[in-house]
Every structure is written in structure tokens, then in C-alpha cells.
Amino acid sequence: MTTKRYSKISIGLHWVIALLIFSAFPIGLYMHDLKLSPTKLHLYSYHKWIGITVLMLAVLRVLWRATHKPPALHLARWQEVASGIVHGFLYLLILAVPMTGWLMSSAKGVKTVWLGIFPLPDLVAKDKALGHILSNVHTALNYTLLVLVVLHIAAALKHHFVDRDDVLLRMLPGK
């Protein structure tokens, strides 16, 4: 049986976004409690640049997904429903996590300048209380994303190694 894969664009976006999230998440976790130093400010910038890159790629990914039908699954009904729900939330979070980071940055009075070159507009005015709230929202969404990503990976591995179906292969580059 030949595997029907996702389109090359989808596969590329999936793995690039995954790689970026796997970089930004630990940086975010580590940088937060550092004492103020040039290193801390560098890490904050890198974290923000990666986050904005994820946001831009996520917009492309969601648009691409909305206009291109993914290859059919051949799973139990409940698995397809569960998979649909988790994927829906993953799409939502790869947009919402960087978005709340950007908003938080604006509220804290630190403009986001992508790659240190392209200034992004501040979508909210400087507001300490709002910055604090958005910081909590950003954190909560990140842990939600973490849980869903663990679930996502566990399911993919289970399908590949236990069920020995082509669920994971659909998202791997190949012919």
C-alpha cells in the first residue's frame, strides 16, 4: 500500500515550525528567571524573533491547510475525531502562543523588532497590568501547547510503532 503524504509545503512547514517551537520553548523557559544581563536581553530577542517567525509560518500553514485537503486517514471514528480536535487546537496554539507573546511585549513597552530590523506595530498600548495578564496567558497557552505536543508525538509514535500504519509517514518527506 502506497502512503498518501501531505503536500511538500505542508510537510516543510510542519517540521520547520516544530523545530522553531522546540527552540523557542526552552529559551523562553530558561531566560525568564535570569538576572538582567546582555545574555538575557539577547535570549529575549532571539525568543521573540523565533516566535514571530513561527507566527508567520503558522499563518501560511493554516491558510495552506484550509485550502488543501490532507490525505485521508483510515482510522476508527473516535480516533479521527480526537485527532481532528487535537490538530485544531495545535493550529490555534501555533497562532495564539506567538500572538500573546507579541501582545505582551507591546503591553510591557518593549516593541517587537523582528530580527532586530523590522519593527512590528504595537497592537496594544503600554499597560503594566495588561502586560502581567498577557504574560500569564502566554505561559498557560505554552503549557497547553506542551501537553498537546506530547500527545501529538505519542500518538504519532504509537501509530508508527504499535499500529504500524502510515499516519506518521504521511508527514515525513519521501516520494
Binding site: P38, L41, K108, G109, K111, G116, K128
Partner: protein, 199 residues
């Protein structure tokens, strides 16, 4: 009638004298004035300000040679634009507010640039280091209220502000823009002078 004429002439002379001696602005309104600054951190433009400063100004547009200005900024009142940094910026590597609580600007001269624009020169002391600075100033007068707006750039490292690991200018740039907005009222009118009307 001779006395009456004399009185008229005297009165006219007085009026002329009043007109010639233009008004002096010297009542600084601290609560309406601001001293703020801008800098770049990781390529990001940041805005900060000082909550507390004492300013003395004596400015008569017709007697620039006598103009005086002094601003003492309480550095511990800094709002760096990022609450994370407010504490650090008072430490030894930055302002070292324990040893140098104030930054002071003392004007040494004012030159007219035409219209309502002037060039102020003076000595700026930060962290025990005094350097010459020069700032274009715009004057806006409404009634007895004068607003002085100006800005100038300094290099933070020339004052030893942000040393040690912060000497690396990739993180926080050397250029700091200092901006001031001073609201100064004219001294209370003497009985014979009319309220000043200047444009």
C-alpha cells in the same frame, strides 16, 4: 498745566520702559515638565523618563546673555521603560546612584537660531563626569507661560554609564537621546507692566 504734562510724559516713559524690559520666565512648573530619554536595546527603540528633577530657569528672550538654567535629575527616580531594568540601572555598572545620586545640567550660554529657536550649551555631569553638551531648544509662549522643548544626544560610555558586561554596544546602544520639556511661567507681573503678550 505744566505738572500735568510732566505726569503724562513720565507715564509715557514708564510705559516705554516696561515695554522695553521684556518679561523673564523663571517659575518652573515641575509637575508639567518632563525629562525623558530614548535608547535602543537589541535594535528596539525604548522610552524612559525621570520622575523627579529640580529645574531652575531664568530666561528673557531679549536678554539671552543673562539666561540661566540648571536641572538636577534624581537618578533613582528612573523609569527605564522596562520595569526589569529600573533596579539594575541604579547599580554600580550604570548610574551608581548610591555614589552619584544626581545628574546635573548647567547652561553656559544661549544663542538665537532665529524665530523661536535657540541653541543652548552647557555642562552635563553624570556619574562624576562633566562634558559639554549643546541642544537646540524651541520656545513656545502662550500668555505668561513658556514651554521649552529640546533634545540632544549623548554617548553613555563617555560618562561610564553601562560598563562591565554592558560595554558591549550590541545590546544597549551608546547613543542616548535626552529630551526635556520645561513649562516655565513669567515672574508675577509688577503693578505697572501689562500681562506679557508675545507670539
Amino acid at each position: 498745566m505744566k505738572t500735568f504734562n510732566e505726569i503724562i510724559i513720565l507715564f509715557a516713559l514708564l510705559l516705554m520702559a516696561c515695554d522695553a524690559s521684556a518679561v523673564e520666565y523663571n517659575q518652573v512648573q515641575s509637575n508639567q515638565s518632563t525629562v525623558s530619554f530614548g535608547y535602543r536595546q537589541m535594535g528596539v527603540p525604548m522610552e524612559g523618563k525621570f520622575g523627579k528633577f529640580a529645574a531652575q530657569v531664568a530666561f528673557d528672550p531679549d536678554k539671552l546673555a543673562n539666561a540661566q538654567a540648571r536641572i538636577d535629575v534624581t537618578l533613582s527616580s528612573v523609569d527605564s521603560g522596562s520595569s526589569d531594568a529600573d533596579e539594575s540601572v541604579q547599580g554600580k555598572l550604570w548610574f551608581d546612584t548610591r555614589n552619584y545620586p544626581l545628574a546635573s545640567f548647567v547652561a553656559t550660554g544661549v544663542k538665537p537660531l532665529g524665530g523661536n529657536r535657540y541653541q543652548a550649551t552647557g555642562k552635563l555631569t553624570i556619574k562624576g563626569k562633566t562634558l559639554d553638551v549643546s541642544a537646540p531648544v524651541t520656545l513656545a509662549v502662550i500668555g505668561n507661560r513658556a514651554e521649552f522643548n529640546g533634545s540632544f544626544n549623548i554617548k553613555r560610555l563617555s560618562y561610564g554609564v553601562g560598563i562591565g558586561e554592558w560595554t558591549d554596544l550590541d545590546t544597549v546602544a551608546d547613543d542616548i537621546q535626552i529630551r526635556f520639556h520645561l513649562v516655565v511661567l513669567a515672574s508675577p507681573a509688577s503693578p505697572l507692566s501689562n500681562p506679557p503678550k508675545r507670539k
